[in-house]
Structure formats: structure tokens, C-alpha cells
């Protein structure tokens, strides 16, 4: 009996070391940094005095904090809604077999293959107000007469960033949802066809209920990925113009690596960790529920 438990430990220990070293340590370090006056001098002297809740007070009292929180939520909700709706439509579309369907489906993965910093540079030129391809096309079609200030107007920039992030996220959604659709037994569809169910009825009565576990996974993972998303915004607008696309991750990045206020940067990312953690728990609960179902 004892030998068995020793073997069990031998199997667990490597992954335990890995988790402690690469997951627990950074998180704990980050939590501690949030309570410290951690500046550039700290790197040289090694001294980071504890300041209690000072960093949290400073970041929350900042006039930009609540607009930043609002932007973060709009960014997450907008991105996830768009990615999911388009994702499920496209996944359903590819369920039907037609010539070149596999080729097209693999082409859909392209946004995933491009480094985000490359694709955002492309989008930036597409969305240029004066000479960008999008405005040029819309103008030549007579839809608009003056260029849309995609990335230069504070009232539109957040929407533009969301659009690009939806594009970035579609491959993930399609891939997982398509996989989920494959798991639904074909007989059910045949039975419903015999019963005379239409396409909409089939979707709501068969596809949707059976796809629910996959949907939970896609949305919750999507929320967590989008919450901490940094590169899309940095590549497109760097949080501008005039803070209109500033989110908690970008603000944390700027505090840490431009202002060198590492304590305040850590405080912001800790706030983010707490929000992401809530979603992570929801995810774990829903996946457990789907197992017991």
C-alpha cells in the first residue's frame, strides 16, 4: 500500500513542481508586488518597502480607472458576442459538406497563424482614415462620403478594436464549436428530418441543447483570453486616442513598463486576476456539471 502511494507521488511531483514554479510563483509574486513600493531602484537595491493598500488606492482613485474598467468590459462583451455568434454560424455552415469545404475551413485558421502584432499592423493600414482600404471601398460603393475615423476618433476606436479582436478570435470559436457539432449523433438529425422539423427548429431542439457544454467552454475560455488581451490593443491604438481604448491590461502594462511603477502595475493586474478567477471558477463548475450530466 505504501509503495503504491510512493509511486503515486512520483507521478504527481513533476507536475506539482511545474505548477508551483511557473504558475503559483508568478501569481504569488504579483500579489505581493501589489502591496510594495516596487520601482526601478528595487532592481538595484533589492528593497521594496511594503505600503499596504497604497497602490490599490492610487490606481482606483485615478480618474482613468473607471473608464478603463468600462472599456475592458465593453471590449470583452463585444468581442465574445461577435466571436461566438459568427463562430457558431460558420461552424454550422461547414457542417454541410461541399466542394473545397475542408480547404476553406483550414483557411479560416489563418488569423490564428499570423502573429497578432503582424495582423494588427495590417488592420491599422486597412483602417486608415484617409487612404485605408476599408474607407476606399466604402467610398467607391457610395456608402459613405467622408472616411470613417476607425482608429482616430475616440468614439469609434473601441468599436474598431473589438472588430479586429472578433476577427482574431473567430478561428478559436469555429474550431471548438465545429468539434462540438461533430459529436452530435447524426441519427438525431435524421429523426428530426423524418418528423418534419425545419432548420431553425432542428437548431434549437437538437443542436443547441447538445452543444451547450461546448458553448460553455468556448465562452468562458474566450472571456479569460479576452480579459487579459494586450497585443491587439497595443498593436492597433496603444490605448489611444485619448485613452478611449485603454483597458486594465494595457493600463497595467503602461504603469509597469513605461512609468516603471511596478507596484501599481501589479495592483491593476491583481484586480484583473480576481475578475478572471471568478470566470475560471464558473468554468470549472460548468465543466463539472456537464460531466455529472
Amino acid at each position: 500500500m505504501k509503495r503504491v502511494s510512493l509511486y503515486q507521488w512520483l507521478f504527481i511531483v513533476p507536475s506539482l513542481i511545474y505548477i508551483v514554479l511557473f504558475f503559483l510563483f508568478p501569481v504569488v509574486k504579483n500579489v505581493i508586488m501589489g502591496f510594495q513600493d516596487y520601482s526601478t531602484a528595487t532592481f538595484y537595491t533589492g528593497k521594496a518597502p511594503f505600503v499596504g493598500l497604497e497602490n490599490y488606492k492610487t490606481v482606483i482613485a485615478d480618474a482613468q480607472f473607471w473608464p478603463t474598467v468600462r472599456n475592458t468590459f465593453l471590449f470583452v462583451i463585444g468581442s465574445i458576442a461577435g466571436q461566438f455568434v459568427l463562430g457558431i454560424l460558420i461552424a454550422n455552415f461547414f457542417k454541410r459538406r461541399f466542394p473545397l469545404s475542408t480547404t476553406l475551413r483550414s483557411l479560416l485558421l489563418l488569423p490564428w497563424l499570423l502573429p497578432v502584432i503582424v495582423s494588427t499592423a495590417l488592420w491599422r493600414s486597412l483602417m486608415d482614415q484617409d487612404s485605408g482600404a476599408i474607407n476606399t471601398v466604402l467610398k467607391s460603393l457610395g456608402i459613405i462620403h467622408t472616411g470613417i475615423p476607425w482608429l482616430t476618433s475616440p468614439s469609434i476606436a473601441l468599436l474598431s478594436v473589438i472588430i479586429v479582436n472578433i476577427w482574431v478570435g473567430i478561428p478559436f470559436n469555429v474550431t471548438i464549436l465545429y468539434g462540438g457539432l461533430q459529436d452530435i449523433p447524426e441519427e438525431l438529425y435524421e429523426a428530426s428530418a423524418i418528423d418534419g422539423a425545419g432548420r431553425v427548429r432542428t437548431f434549437w431542439s437538437i443542436t443547441w441543447p447538445l452543444l451547450r457544454p461546448t458553448v460553455n467552454v468556448v465562452i468562458l475560455l474566450g472571456v479569460i483570453y479576452t480579459l487579459r488581451s494586450l497585443d491587439t490593443i497595443l498593436g492597433l491604438t496603444r490605448g489611444g486616442p485619448a485613452n478611449s481604448t485603454q483597458t486594465i491590461p494595457t493600463q497595467s502594462y503602461f504603469q509597469s513598463f513605461q512609468q516603471f511603477k511596478f507596484g501599481e502595475g501589479a495592483a491593476l493586474s491583481n484586480i484583473l486576476i480576481v475578475i478572471a478567477f471568478i470566470f475560471a471558477i464558473l468554468y470549472l463548475r460548468s465543466s463539472r456539471r456537464s460531466l455529472t450530466d
Partner: protein, 411 residues
Amino acid sequence: MSNTQSQLTRRVFAIGTAAALGIGLAGCASSGTPTASSAPVTSISVADYYTDQPAKSIIGDALTKCGTEAGVTIQREAIPSADLVSKTLQKLSSKTMPDLQMLDNPDLPTFASTGALTPVTDAGVTTDNIGKSVLSIGTYEKKVYGIAPTVGTLVLFYNTDIFDKAGLTVPTTWDELKAAAKTLTKGSTYGVAFPAKNGAEGTYAFMPLLWSAGGSEDKLDSAAAQSALQLAVDLVKSGDASKSVVQWGNSDVGDQFLAGKAAMGIMSAGQAAKLDKAGTVKYKMATIPVPAAGDASVAPLGGEVWTLPNTGNTARQAKAGKVLECLKSDDTQLSLAIARGLVTANPALDAKYLAKKPALTAYVDQVRGGRSRAGILGEGWVDVSTKIYKAVQSAITGQASVSAALATAAA
């Protein structure tokens, strides 16, 4: 391979000496009398951010030449500019700083204030052939921590074809600038372009307007600061500069100017390299316009300073000091400035420089009247720099009035 090996030996050596000599070593380092090490120093490590050609090999060649003179080989690491500060901070905490470290000049106070750098004069480097304003970009609390062999700044580029066709001369005052921009805005060409990006480049381009108006970074709600920001806002509002300026850095403005989409461009003089290479646009440089005739055109000095980190190894530091002494010698200054399209740190070399580059008179004038960004605020500059570009963005996009945007920045 040899690089990692020597780093390892260095680290072992550093730990050994640190343990043996303890705190006494730090005292020696700042007293400026290098202790003779038992093993002769045959190489020094250098870090900079010149990852792109041609700067990479121009600087590399200068370092190699100076290393040979000092009797050491150079182990150089070029770090992408975006990562330089964070990488250097990591090295600071792991005590693996190189012997010679390049920093962008606004970051110097950040590092000098930590105590991680040795004043270069303590390592025997002379500063008599460095102009006063250039010396100031490497100075923190009255001590010189870094030396820039060459400097650059922003100037006004203007498209001579467009100007000739319109029969205009280059504007020297703000009113002339506005009028010229209005006349030259036609079709897909804007009168003027300037960087107003959400980042340090936006601040960099605002400084000439602020300083030439008599404003200062420590009093951002002054009338002078308001008039400077109002100029930028007016140019965009009138449609004589693109609304996209809030997305542009220097290189974007260079692209617009090159594509003929801007008749004038206020941008880093370094953009000339791109224009010359393409050769499709005829241009000249002028000093940046000032509020009224007779005002001085004051621009921020750009450029990288070479510093001597406090590694605790005085023998290596002395060698690094020798290499730096050679890097900032008149000869190296001149060859670097000519090769890279920059201006020498020594004003006495201007005549020689202009003999080779006669078209750059305005550029040299702009540099000589230049000022250090972190000169007044020291390590407080990084914070204010962020506030300035945010104010510029809020006002240009109409999120806030000029006075409200600057009041926020000054708070």
C-alpha cells in the same frame, strides 16, 4: 557559445570578488582609482539597441575600433529598443549589467537615480569636447552619467516641388505655418503632418511647440503651453493636418511625407535617410516655426547616451571608460554623425561637418538650440511625458478643451 561561457566565468568571478571584498569594492568604484586586477582584462561587454542596419554595423565598427585602441575585444548585445529598459532592469536585479550600457537619453535619470551607474568622470572619461546642451542629456543631479557622441532632433521638412509650384517660402512663424498649411492642402495632400501618437513620440513632437512658446514641462497649464497645444489643435481642426496624426509616430509622418500626402512634416531628422533612399521627393529642412519672428526655436535633443554601470569590477570599468573616451572623441563623433545623419556632440566640429553635409545647416542650428527633456524633472520626466501625450491626444480628438486637457496634465 563563447559568449555564454565568458558570461558564466564573469558571474563566478563577480560572485567571488564580491564575497572576498564585500562592500569595500563599491567604495573603490566611486573613488575613481581603479584597483589593479590580477587577471588582465581582455574583453568588455556592451549592450545597445541598434538592431537595425545600417546603425547596427556603423556602431559595431566604431565599438570594435575603440576596443582595439583600448586593448579589449567587444562582446556586444543588441537588444530591440522596445525591450531595452525591461531587459536592462532584469540585468540590474541579477547583477549582470554590461560594462558599457547604451540608454535612450530620457531613461537616463531613471537608471542614474537607482545608483546603478557610475559617473563617467569617475572612470576617467573627459567631457571637455561635449557641448553644454548635449552634456545635459547625460546629466543627473549635476553629475554626468552618460555621454552621447552624436545627437539628433526634430526639424521641419518641406517638399520643395510643392512649395515652388505654390510660390511659397518656408514658414518661420506659427501664423506663416498655418497659412502655408492652408494653401498647400489640396486633394489628398495635407499641408502639414506631425506625430501626435499615444506614446513618447507624441510628447517628443510637442516639445518644440511648448518650448518655443516659452512654456515648460513643469508648468503645463501656463498660457504658453495652451498656445502651443492650440496650434496643434487648430491645424487638425482646420483640416490642414490629417485627423490621423493621433496614430502617427515619426516614421509614419516620414511615410506620409514620402508619399506626397503631406507638404510639410515636423519629424525626427533621422527620417531623411528613408527619403534619400527612395529619392522620389525633393525636400529641404528648416528649423521648426516659432510663435513670433525673433523667438528661439527650441527642440528636444534625441540621442543615446553611453553609460558605465556600477558592476563592481573596476578594472573592467576602466577599460569600458577608455572605450567610451574613444567613442566620444572628435574623430568618432564626426564619422558617426556623417554616417548616421546625426549631429556631433561637439559644436566645434560643426564647420567640418557642414563642409561634408552642406544641406544640414538648419538641422545643426536646431540641435544647437536644443534642450534635454528630462533636464528639469529628472526621473519625474517619464510620468510627465505620459501626461503630455495624453493631453495632446485629448485636445486634438476634441475629448477635452485645450485648457482642460492641460489642466489635467498639470495636476
